[in-house]
Symmetry: C2
Subunit: 371 residues, 2 copies
């Protein structure tokens, strides 16, 4: 077994403080994975990711398979060596991006036929191919290919997709060849509790080393998300790491840690940084706003990142307005430091039984402003 | 005196190994100053500049005066505090950029009237105003306003410009109010030895703490540049630091150090990095070229920068093609590490009398390829 997971402490709410062991090191959970779409978290070489507190990163199979190609990355010694990151890496299956190619793809039991958005070439993504690509990359955790349906799809479509997702997960498992890559299955079932429960139970029979909850952040209402994501965690195997895909806001992360999730990923801290939307302990800050033009104060006095210790909001405002890439670097370093620091507080909160207080603090800073 | 300069060792060729003392620390000379146009070396927060080996940076008065404005920077505690760089800073006078606004500016003895390229506002740059702006910025070294004429201007125009430059330097000196900002005068005179000598002698009478050679890198032939820049150094005061403005290539820096120059600045390492043109000990590398797509080797095995120690040319090629800002960061960090490492070798070469060997090595790597 290339991957092991141990729960070290539990919160009364159901939150778990754990340790995920991978061939490339340990991850203290709950953990947030910065998104490095094209074998790079934009503007953040690995030494800056480490400075921000990252212990595991996510990369996107679809983007890497198109460019530079998984064969090239395998020839270059695998994704870790290629991008110079020696910690754990998880990749998605590529399914999410392929399903987003509306009009360019055709889904069948065998897999998904689609046209490359780069050069128009006819391509095919099957469960077996998704595993082959991720094993070429040599990642620590590969995600099974799952079938996605729109958030507002009818129940029958949700049910069929969840069932196919389980069949595809079995095919992914049977296609595995590489020792060091662990496979996670993905629980689907839309916003229907019984479908989610059945999906989780059927996938559990495959005894995979980890499971994810998919199909969230697809436009569902916040209350529906909360109810269904919490329910899904409760039906996922207790002894395995639980990964809530594509989530979320600071408050989402604190709440979902309390529901028993162990892993998260989201483009929000990195993409927002590039747009000048910054996360602070006092709530969101839009750094381009004119109120910051002459603001001598640091972005967040409680943040340990380089920018918060050395420069003012006025300077970050200037860099944003000048479209200077130093702004992108400082803003991304800050937002990741905030997200990863928040996860460290979540872990302490679970150990000490103070997660509820942390949740109240983050809700006060973020909920009213809708960010 | 806010600034002092001491020659510690001399090379038989005339190169000097010195120490420039400023209110923000010492600079071992000959030194290269990375260019931080808008209070930022693009993509390089100060902690990365230090990692690359920078001890002094240059910023552009013209760009800062337009945005965010020198008054704002003064209110924010000065340029050092604004950009989070605690080492020495030198600024140009803004003259070079204003003279480049052909059609938008009018030159008279009093100064230069021009229209802001940002908002069209009517502005005026005089010697007094150039000093006021640079003192607002609170830099360690301010450059006097000089009159620039095209490289192919007639001798009479060159002579008149050099004479006006001296009058303007005196006005700059008389306008000084701030203790901690040292003023450097600029030797002009085009490609005429007698004009250069007269300009240097007249400026020397002002007994300024440092002098620069201006009017190079304006399209003159390489041999003309070599002859005139070397001659100009020979007529500049020996006891003061000599700054060769806007120069140059790796070979230029080694050669000009041998002529007795102590300070350099150039956008080449940073701008080229953004274009994927990288400097290595074996010569220039165009990282986007297809020969690097599957090249597992480091960009430069003898370079200590993070990228050269951790990733391949294939990865840098991928980042360039993906237009990923991590590529900009790694490439800029590399090129500055190369330039600043080269200057460290120049300093050792002067100390040990081995500058000629270094020049031969760099000429072999760079001269034939014309980079």
């Amino acid at each position: 077994m290339s991957l092991s997971f141990k729960v070290l402490a539990e919160d009364p709410s159901g939150g778990r403080r754990g340790c995920l062991r991978t061939p490339h090191g340990e991850v203290a959970t709950p953990a947030f994975m910065p998104v490095g779409t094209r074998a790079s978290v934009k503007g953040m070489p690995p030494f800056l990711l480490k400075e921000a507190g990252a212990s595991i990163v996510l990369s996107n199979t679809f983007h890497l398979a198109l460019r530079p190609g998984s064969t090239l990355i395998r020839e270059m010694g695998g994704l870790h060596r290629f991008m110079g990151w020696d910690g754990p890496i998880l990749t998605d299956s590529g399914g999410f991006q392929v399903f987003s190619l509306t009009g360019l793809r055709k889904v069948a039991e065998e897999g998904i036929a689609f046209r490359s958005p780069v050069d128009g070439a006819e391509l095919f993504l099957s469960p077996e191919r998704a595993i082959e690509i991720q094993e070429d990359l040599g990642v620590d955790v590969a995600m099974a290919l799952d079938e996605l349906v729109p958030g507002d799809a009818p129940r029958a479509a949700m049910e069929a997709a969840a069932e196919r997702t389980t069949r595809w997960a079995r095919r992914c498992r049977d296609a595995q060849k590489r020792e060091g890559t662990a496979l996670f299955g993905i629980v689907q079932g839309g916003m229907e509790e019984d479908l989610r429960a059945r999906s989780a139970a059927e996938l559990a029979e495959l005894d995979l080393p980890g499971y994810a909850a998919g199909g969230f952040s697809v436009g569902e209402k916040k209350e529906t998300f909360r109810k269904m994501a919490a329910f899904t965690a409760s039906v996922m195997p207790e002894a395995k790491p639980r990964y809530l895909m594509g989530v979320g806001t600071p408050l989402d992360l604190v709440e979902a840690s309390g529901w028993g999730y162990d892993l998260f990923d989201c483009v929000m801290p990195t993409r927002n940084a590039r747009n000048g939307s910054l996360f602070t302990s006092a709530g969101p800050v839009t750094i381009k706003n004119s109120e910051h033009v002459r603001d001598e104060s640091p972005l967040d006095p409680s943040c340990p990142c380089w920018g918060c210790r050395h420069v003012s909001r006025a300077y970050l405002n200037h860099l944003y307005r000048a479209d200077d890439p130093t702004g992108l670097v400082l803003n991304t370093l800050h937002n990741l430091t905030f997200y990863l620091g928040l996860m460290a507080r979540v872990r302490k909160g679970i150990e000490r039984g103070t997660l509820a207080a942390l949740k109240a603090e983050i809700a006060a800073a973020y909920e009213k402003r809708g960010a």
